[in-house]
Amino acid sequence: MLRNDIAVAVQSVTKDFPLADGSSFRALAGINLSVAAGKLAMLSGPSGCGKTTLLCIISGVLRASSGEVTVFGEHLGAMSERDQIAFRLSAIGFVFQQSNLLPALTARENAAVPLIAVGCPRSIALEKATDVLQQLGIGAFADSLPIHLSGGQQQRVTIARALVHEPRLILCDEPTSALDAESGHTLMGLLRSIAVQPDRSVVVVTHDSRITEFADLLIAMEDGRIKSAEAKDACESEARA
């Protein structure tokens, strides 16, 4: 497999959190993982197993205590905080557990935020955001405020916000947890069909066993370690526990 075919490479990553008594809590204990480009990887496991911590480290929101994280060949650990923030803005799209849309902005404006933040002219950013919202089936609600959208529609706007600037990696944290089964299924279908591209990967953290069918790589975590990894196509995606 060529190096630039690897979207995310995590090598021997540990993460310790200091505790009030001076000791520390190890949230991740030697994680090794790689996700190929063009694939959807799903991290599952019980609460507190370290899924979200791993997602934060992959995104550069948290720094690993040891080990190395590479996203499309870029070593996150070697970057300054400023570079990490800039890298996040340009290369990563986020879908959070709760939509966290800005309540004063319309769906279109919310979706356009990453583009506007990178300096794209507002009119172009809004146009592009509208296109993505249409692809996600909520073009009709482009001018609606979040308060007027259902939970599923809000999550679609969040996905639009994650996709609008065409990042190479999409990170989703429990994207279906606030949705009913049908909405969750529809949302994952959309994510699968639109977000996953040959040069783009998606990593989803989830508790929701109903959506595992959308994964190319299913990783189960427990106690800060990878318990098992199941690749639907072992040639393209791999995981090492």
Binding site: T52, F94, F96, L102, A104, L105, V113
Partner: protein
């Protein structure tokens, strides 16, 4: 991102309005009190600053401000005239007199006796008539507010007035800047003024001096002081000395300063607190932006833009209310003329509001810089 910041701000309508009103109230309080104070202080020195022709004011050494004077003798005027560098020196009489109008109107007035020949010291803004008309027998010039009080109907010349039981003829009506007290101002020839007050032994209140061209005024002032033992001040110094007398010797300065400071504190506390709450309530959204990849610098600028918008709108609203207030007050009567929003008050209030907004946004930016984007990943 700045437009997004503004939309975030205005999206929370109740808080946005409260913030703007907080700034507007603070602006109004500070500018209102500062203007009233400046207006009162300006009144204290108006009769000095309106005498544009003289370079120097000569007076008794013990004079501390315009209203408290010790009279001078004719000999002292001659001595001043004899000093090298003095182009001219003329007497100015200032005193109080009782004025009776034909219709029965009675009022205490400021009587200003100006040099018969040069008329130096007459109010420069004439409404009806000219300064020269003062030279007619028994001629007096009265200020607009005084005329309105003592006479009824359309202002006109030729009416008579009784000043300390002596006849005066209205030879002109002027638009004098209001004095500290609300008494009418009556300008008369020096010789007439002497007569009105009973030919006192010491008839001169001030000696107004003009320096020869190319003569240094401060050297001339020193020379006059050394020769005559009198006090000599430039008009600006005398005006400033008069103003500071009121600031130091009355509660006016402290009273108004306390209110202005209160306006600042109320503004800083209310606006600062409200702005901080606004940011706290939007913390999750700011954390989301931070997680997405918006830098602390960009978010700080967003907060500054929000502060700028609140400050600018609140300031303008407060200034508008303040200006309307003074326009209304001036419309109530001539006694309230002279209270206007000066650019100095507007600028200093603007600086105070900018400081309030910097404090408010500074606190919020500090809080913002500590947001942990990881919090967004927690449900």
């Amino acid at each position: 991102m700045y437009l997004i910041a503004i939309k975030m701000l205005m999206g929370d309508t109740a808080k946005y309005i409260a913030l703007v009103l907080g700034v507007a109230f603070s602006t109004m309080l500070m500018s209102n009190q500062a203007t009233i104070f400046a207006g009162i202080m300006e009144r204290a020195a108006n009769q000095i600053s309106e005498v544009r022709e003289a370079d120097l004011w000569v007076m008794d050494k013990r004079v501390r401000y315009f209203e408290e004077t010790e009279q001078l003798t004719q000999t002292q005027l001659w001595r001043v005239r004899g000093i090298e560098g003095v182009r001219w020196a003329v007497p100015l009489f200032k005193g109080l007199a009782m004025a009776h109008a034909p219709g029965g109107g009675l009022r205490q007035v400021h009587l200003m006796g100006v040099d018969d020949a040069t008329l130096t010291g007459v109010c420069p803004e004439m409404v009806i008539g000219s300064k020269e008309d003062l030279k007619i027998p028994d001629g007096v010039i009265i200020d607009r507010a005084g005329y309105r009080f003592l006479f009824s109907g359309t202002p006109k010349l030729g009416g008579t007035i009784e000043i300390n039981e002596h006849r005066g003829v209205i030879a002109g009506i002027c638009d004098a800047a209001p004095p500290f007290t609300t008494f009418p101002l009556i300008f008369a020839k020096y010789s007439d003024a002497e007569r009105y007050v009973g030919n006192p032994r010491k008839p001169i209140t001030f000696i107004l001096v003009a320096a020869e061209p190319n003569v240094d005024q401060s050297s001339l002032a020193n020379r006059i002081e050394a020769t005559t033992g009198l006090q000599v001040l430039g008009w600006k110094d005398f005006a400033s000395q008069t103003i500071w007398y009121y600031v130091h010797n009355t509660g006016l300065g402290v009273n108004f300063a306390v209110t202005v400071i209160l306006g600042f504190i109320i503004g800083a506390v209310v606006v600062g607190q409200m702005f901080h709450i606004f940011v706290l309530e939007n913390l999750r959204h700011f954390a989301t932006l931070k997680a997405v990849g918006i830098s602390n610098g960009t978010m700080s600028r967003m907060i500054l833009v929000q502060g700028l918008v609140v400050g600018a709108i609140g300031y303008n609203l407060g200034m508008a209310v303040s200006a309307e207030f003074f326009a209304f007050v001036r419309s109530l009567g001539m006694d309230f003329r002279g209270f206007y929003l000066s650019w100095q008050v507007m600028v200093s209030t603007g600086v105070a509001i900018a400081l309030i907004m910097l404090l408010a946004t500074g606190l919020s930016i500090r809080r913002l810089s500590k947001i942990d984007p990881v919090s967004v990943f927690k449900s």
